[in-house]
Amino acid sequence: MKFTLLINEGPYQHQASDTAYQFAKAALAKGHEIYRVFFYNDGVNNATRLAIPPQDDRNITENWAALAKEHELDMVVCIAAAQRRGMLDADEAGRQGKDADNIHPAFRISGLGQLVEGGIQADRLLTFGD
């Protein structure tokens, strides 16, 4: 079965991203497919490559990145939500005249249409939020 996951909260502040990650891991272990993971609202903050969590805590972004690498996950960050919150990739930073960017290479920036399309193509769309 194909799942699309929607994550609406940032890392650490809420458990939403942790739960979605554990769900994705379990689904993949059972042979299901993750069609897309879409990051919206503060969920876009999961895509930062600049986080330095304490040594004894989980690294949420790196967990996602490792899972994505192993299973070739499509992890999409909503461009509008990301711009509002200061999450940019190098292309965006260049276009917008910003002097830095912060998105981890495991994620790609795209439009909200990717969420709707994820809902159409997957058998189930699950939301993880506050």
């Binding site: 929607l6 609406n8 919206y40 609202n41 509008a80 939500a81 439009g111 909200l112 249409g113 969420l115 709707v116 399309e117 809902g119 159409i120 769309l125 939301t127 939020g129």
Partner: protein
Amino acid sequence: MSENIKKFMFVNTKAPYGTVYALESLEVVLISAAFDQSVSLVFCDDGVFQIANNQNTEASGMKNFSPAYKALGDYDINKIYVETESLEERGLTLDNIMALTYEDEDDDWAEKSSIIPVTRAELADLMDEQDVVISS
């Protein structure tokens, strides 16, 4: 993709402005119109406040996005369910809600209301029929 039309329902349960969910959910709804799916909206619980009349953000500095709901009809989104019990619990009636309308192309473009009052029980039935439910 016309063989693959799904029923999308966007369920709005939170008050506007205190959190961003109302605004950013509306942005998804407007995008969804481009995908030729069957799209409906629900306003229940504190979500009914999202479409309250006379929102005026001048003194708070927040962005007043309530006029954007009036564009839903132009996007062919005209199934807007409002839970009557949620209104009552909050001391509201349909008079407190914005008059959201659409032009019915099957009826000589007559202007009709998009607002469909439903009971809690009716809403449970409607939710049960959906393919994709996105709540916030």
